[in-house]
Symmetry: C2
């Protein structure tokens, strides 16, 4: 990590840069896959899965036999751990359920807001070196609580044409019945457009590599919503003299091991911590299986000393971290004044990995500064708010003139007339 | 309106088509404006405003003198009407404020969700033939209630280089201090990128023509969020024998007058209403100042008779109307079973124009079937949900093993280590 001491505001822009690439050069490939899936349906999925995943299959849906076999391959301790995480995530997301909100805005005018589930949703679970079953918990649990009727899950097959046992076990545990062994751009295209085997959905969720990221963006041209723009994962830790260098180093490393493009930032108002954390990182790094990845990510990363809390807070708000760990004595100062963050971890005993897996909060979060305008995935990500209004005869008699005047001033006479014709009917006793 | 009687499901696809164009051919123009604004800042705004609006100005910000003068030009009855609408919209959107949600997911593990304002938002108010001050109410009121710190409003100048008095009056009434006489693509680019005079924002709201629509989509490539994808306005009315043909015709016309590309759909389970509504439309159309526009929109529009409620409901859900008027005896059947709609108007005395102006609900709504996955603008459109967690020593001792097991199973040893190092420190009494 490169160290910076009391950088001036003019240097912040550079310090806030993420190591993100733009992937516009992938758009032609993504567009061609979408076109092929639109034209050829499942045959295109078969072809791309052979080409990109090296697997030839003409049925993509996971069978109940596969699900049953998977259950036997997951250890009991891991099953218990997954259940523990599931319980916590369920508790936190169920608490987000809301009653219909009813307001009588004026006599005879009742307005209400009701949240209804998005009927069809698609969940993408990346493949790669490790089975990311935790992301299934984070997406499937709120989808089920919201009441989404059709939940489709896509994940790329491994070389043997299967999915990891942990992925299948967790998907079944969460009640997902439509699991497809399809990954990459073709999976996103299939869920956006629909094929013979894979249903079209209204909104696509989940992380992925740069191909999946561009494919999700492209899907929005096909009448599909996405959870949020994706980018490499990131963590900002702020600590004062109450921070523990070993813990901070472990947290920074846990983020750094995600990928070479991950970014970690350490902000402190206690100058000696800069060196202490650097030493602790060096000591812990060597033992990590993914030390090469972590070391590469650390090269993109910054450790910054600020003299004043107010400067640190301003910097954190400007950065807008996805994950934000707060290890300071005056916690409320750093919680109440930081407005831009995805998920916040408070105190020395709250590692980021708690939220990644099991505390109950969601780990699908805005990266790359998007915490300034996007929420992380939550129950409402799987619902939409619909408004209603019901006006009585008395209500339209008292509100009618207001509408007529405003419609006329906007030059919309038919809008006015829709009120006038009702007022006249009431007056005429019809 | 073309009439259809008991169309079979295979015909629905065609009936659900919106008269929307794709505007991808506008992307090169939009990209070039963004590039110019990025490179030249205000000078680009000056140039495009001269070119597109025919106005030469080098200061865009509305002065307090202009605001004061505007206030004298708005009639007292209209001021009262705007105040009435503002009060109702405020009541409904203030009711959407929420407390912090706190959940102890397990002993020693506290999670909470807090909504915080998006700090900087941009509101776009279209120009054109009429002053659309009602949209200012719909965007500025929730932005203020949410607590957005910086609210920027852009609207295209008229030929005299000014903005309509109603627009200025309403903006000031809503406490908007940064009003810029800039419109079209260049306004969106300015708010997305920032110029010397116009601040960069994090999220852009508001309707607009096809240039603005494409510009908003383009802005999402520049780290800016938008309220929702835009399309022509639309209305679906469902009625049984309790529906009143004159009211229905007036509502359909109020939607049709918006633009030639507006779409209105009339669904009924009472066959005679098809003809009665057609006759009433013909009778009312002639008196409308915007009858040419309305007549053109009606050509795109459909009146459909279904024998069964269940078919009508299925069709409505498939269509997913922006505005949905329900004039039936069994209201709950058509409210509880329709899942896809932007805003719903219940009963014979609730015209769409009530929601357009003054009932209290928001009129910025998802069109073109996007009601399946998008909410209309509401208080949360101006906020983001941030999650927090705080774990005690006892909490990490009971949750720790779960995290360790899951992290190890995902091959993320550093994630596991961030827990292990804390558990060890607790055990060692450090």
């Amino acid at each position: 990590m490169k160290q910076y001491k009391t950088p001036s505001a003019s240097e912040w822009e550079a310090l806030m840069q993420r190591p993100t690439a733009t992937y516009e050069d992938l758009e032609p490939l993504v567009a061609s896959v979408f076109d092929a899936v639109k034209a050829k349906g499942d045959q295109a999925i078969i072809d791309y899965t052979a080409q990109f995943d090296g697997v030839l299959q003409d049925e993509f849906k996971v069978t109940s036999l596969e699900l049953d076999q998977a259950a036997t391959k997951v250890s009991e301790p891991l099953k218990n751990a997954i259940q523990n995480a599931k319980d916590n995530i369920e508790r936190f997301h169920k608490a987000q359920l809301t009653e219909t909100l009813r307001v009588t805005t004026q006599n005879g005018v009742e307005c209400w807001q009701e949240k209804k589930p998005i009927e069809k949703v698609g969940l993408y679970i990346p493949g790669g070196s490790a089975p990311l079953f935790s992301t299934i918990l984070m997406l499937a649990i709120p989808a089920q609580i919201a009441g989404c009727k059709e939940i489709v899950l896509c994940s790329p097959p491994n070389k043997e044409g299967g999915l990891p046992a942990e992925v299948l076990y967790t998907a079944k545990l969460c009640g997902i019945e439509q699991i497809f062994k399809v990954g990459g751009i073709q999976a996103i295209a299939a869920m956006a457009l629909g094929t013979e085997q894979i249903p079209k959905v209204y909104k696509i969720f989940g992380p992925g590599n740069q191909y999946v990221t561009v494919a999700k963006q492209w899907a929005t041209r096909h009448h599909v919503a996405i959870d949020m723009p994706a980018g490499p994962s990131e963590l900002l830790v702020v600590a004062d003299e109450s921070g523990k260098a070993d813990f901070i180093a472990a947290d920074l490393l846990s983020q750094a091991e995600h990928g070479k493009d991950s970014q970690v930032v350490f902000v402190t108002t206690h100058e000696p911590l800069l060196e202490q954390v650097a030493q602790s990182i060096a000591a812990q790094l060597d033992d990590l299986p993914r030390k090469e990845i972590a070391a590469a990510a650390l090269e993109n990363s910054k450790a910054i000393y600020f003299e004043k809390d107010s400067e640190a807070i301003d910097f954190i708000n400007s950065y807008g971290p996805e994950h934000y760990i707060v290890c300071v004595t005056n916690e409320s100062l750093y919680l109440e004044n930081v407005n831009n963050a995805g998920s916040v971890f408070v105190g020395n005993y709250t590692p980021e990995s708690a939220g990644d897996y099991a505390s109950g909060t969601n780990h699908t979060l805005p990266t790359n500064g998007y915490a300034k305008q996007y929420s992380g995935v939550n129950l409402d990500s799987f619902r939409k708010a619909i408004t209603f209004q019901k006006i009585t005869k008395e209500g339209i008699q008292s509100l009618g003139e207001t509408i007529e005047l405003m419609a006329a001033a906007e030059g919309l006479e038919a809008h006015k007339n829709a009120v006038s014709i009702r007022l006249k009917a009431i007056k005429d006793g019809i």
